[in-house]
Symmetry: C2
Subunit: 213 residues, 2 copies
């Protein structure tokens, strides 16, 4: 389990660069300097250079980087070229939102099956994805050979569902539930911490005078 050579903060910034580059590409810009990127994104220019270097991209002195090259480097580095099949458990508000997100298939994740406990949702399709009963989870993911799971259920059931996922052959879990999952060492877990951002936001609010009504 060698630690990634690329620091996590760098990985977290890559999508920022990616979306920025997509935007300026859409505006017709073909070349960009790390300096310009740094200014527009509010990041130190040395930081930008190191981050771009981590993806293996190279620029030309005095010229800059080709926007298309940078986009390709980031896509390749994050494996966003080819998408893997994934399942999503918990087709509630957040889960449905993720099913409708247009960006995921472009970002390496193709959700091909959803699961929910509510009979009213089972058998329907949400944003084109079929919803199965959650007690068929292990059976279906095994049959469809799905190795990536997305957890969008309440915290109190998340551990149980994660256990079933692992039993069904899931190797990686993208977890939106606010709980620390206990899974075997060889299972990849990445937690989305919505409340982390809210905590920083809350603290900023309470520091900077009272905005409260």
């Amino acid at each position: 389990m060698a630690a990634s050579a690329v620091p996590n903060p760098t990985l977290r910034r890559l999508p920022k660069y990616y979306h920025y580059l997509k935007r300026i590409q859409g505006e017709g810009q073909e070349i960009v300097s790390a300096t310009q990127m740094a200014e527009d994104l509010g990041i130190h220019h040395t930081q930008v250079r190191k981050d771009l270097a981590a993806t293996g991209s190279q620029g030309k002195p005095k010229v800059g980087h080709r926007v298309a090259d940078l986009l390709a480097s980031i896509e390749t580095f994050l494996n966003w070229n080819s998408a893997s099949d994934a399942c999503l458990v918990g087709a509630g508000n957040l889960g449905s939102a993720l099913l409708g997100y247009p960006g995921f298939d472009k970002a390496g994740i193709r959700i091909t099956a959803a699961f929910d406990a509510h009979p009213s949702k089972v058998g329907k399709k949400i944003h084109g994805v079929p919803v199965y009963p959650v007690d068929k989870l292990e059976e279906v993911i095994r049959r469809l050979n799905i190795h990536i799971g997305i957890l969008t259920i309440p915290a109190d059931r998340a551990q149980h569902v994660a256990d079933v996922m692992v039993q069904g052959g899931i190797r990686a879990v993208w977890n939106f539930a606010p709980i620390t999952l206990d899974v075997p060492d060889d299972i990849i877990v990445e937690n989305v911490e919505l409340y982390a951002s809210l905590a920083i936001f809350s603290r900023k609010l309470s520091e900077r005078g009272r905005l409260k009504a």
Copy 2:
């Protein structure tokens, strides 16, 4: 604009502690040691101690911390006791999900108005929150005296809406759009970077052998 005395990583961990404490409280546990928390959450015990100290909470040697005290300290520290009014712009998939999130009012944010560009949504209520036309944004938030804005619209319109928000008196923006907003210095902005987590997840996937189908 003095930098927060409390490090951001600490702030990001507080909700983790909070949800953990809520859970063990629900299980009837009244006392917890930093050691136990550290083990259960996979965080270094010294880290846990420093984080808890930052909230102003104190424990008793040999005994530990009262769970209720820790919860109260975190709530107070993040100002999650009293909720501020907020508006949400962009009642699409993600926006609707946030409107339906049960946790926010308990976390200091009460969404009292939503805005959307689609006439089909305007005039209705989503999860009890009235949806106004987005061109009434400035007028409505000024009338309702709302100072917090939540941005859940596509990146290409986010900057424009942020401008209108600021003009209407918004002082703090919780931004879900993948774009770096350009706002006056005295406006608080906190970005939720969904794709940051996805990037780390993607990289872990591509490092740890091929899970791709």
